[in-house]
């Protein structure tokens, strides 16, 4: 596989190093002279210096071949968005993955059609919420392109779902229960599974139906 990695910070350099170790072909683009020299000393000719949002720099990196994958992982969200658009729309790169530094900018990536994004802050927040015992509904994973989310709900003693069979729940159209975790053991949810207070229920849901699902499971 051939990958262009735009941005040689901690994320970009580590990803490039790992891809190289797996035997993939990589070009890493770093703008800043000093950082570039550091990376070049370590990784050699696969590192080039330049602004990865400039078309001639991307072309020098081989964007016209095109690569199988472009990773836009600079510390600047606007740069990552533009790199992804240039790759996908200008050079028909099959896959562009963008790093979102500020989670508030996620909506702009979604709006402008950059569906494959990674945001460390949102991921961390999801994990933190997961650790809070009295949480309601937590997003575990998002399949943006497919329009599906994996969510987890904590069922309490007063929750409407407590004591009911899965088949008897008035789940919204577009939501399905996947598993029920009780005492540290997860079982696949079946129609006859009875939900009890203290259970952690995992469901797949279409975006926008989370509140409806929360009302049914958590209250």
């Amino acid at each position: 596989m051939y990958a262009i990695v735009a941005g040689g910070g901690k994320v970009g350099s580590n990803v490039a190093r790992s891809l190289l170790a797996m035997g993939h072909e990589v070009t890493l683009i770093e703008q800043e002279r000093e950082r570039f020299e550091q990376l070049e000393a370590e990784l050699g000719v696969v590192v080039i210096q330049g602004d990865a949002t400039e078309i001639h720099v991307l072309e020098r990196a081989g964007i016209a071949r095109p690569p199988n994958l472009v990773l836009a992982v600079t510390g600047d969200d606007e740069d990552n968005l533009v790199i992804s658009q240039l790759a996908k729309e200008g050079y028909s790169v099959p896959k562009a993955i963008a790093r979102v530094n500020d989670p508030r900018n996620q909506q702009h990536f979604d709006l402008l059609g950059i569906t494959q994004t990674v945001c460390a802050t949102s991921g961390l927040l999801g994990l933190v919420e997961h650790e809070v015992p009295e949480h309601g509904l937590v997003k575990l994973f998002e399949l943006r392109r497919e329009g599906l989310e994996l969510v987890e709900a904590q069922v309490g003693a007063g929750s409407p779902a407590a004591g009911k069979r899965v088949a008897g729940l008035a789940l919204p159209e577009g939501a399905r229960l996947v598993s029920v975790m009780r005492g540290g053991v997860a079982e696949l949810a079946r129609g006859e599974t009875v939900i009890r207070p203290g259970d952690q229920v995992v469901a797949v849901v279409k975006p926008g139906l989370e509140q409806q699902l929360r009302r049914v499971l958590v209250g």
């Binding site: 606007e78 740069d79 533009v82």
Partner: protein
Amino acid sequence: MKAVIVGCGRVGSSVAKALAADGWDVTCVDEDGGALARLGAWHGGFVTGHALDTAVLESAGVADADAAVVATDGDNTNIVIGQVLQKRWHVPCVVVRVLDPARAAFYEERGLRTVCPTKTAISVISEAVQATAGRTV
């Protein structure tokens, strides 16, 4: 007619003043509140904040703006904000300043109205040199 000017530097502030003098209802947006000073005696609106912040754009009135000019000092910031104004708020006329001629051409082809001062400078300078050289030869 209502206009929002994003980036109140030399270009943005001058465009804002020209439109206001023409009777437009103009609101400027800039990260630096001090940029207000560039507008002189200003009777239009001014919002301090980053224009990728949707709350900032909304309070500047992009929802019912007839036109928007995006001229911050970052090409990629301008390109992103311009597209967001077109696609999210459907501002009928969006003009974006892009200094890099290659990116300006790329986004122009995709329906973003770009103005590239670099390209203009290149052609004006080339023409000036050729005209002068033509006279002396």
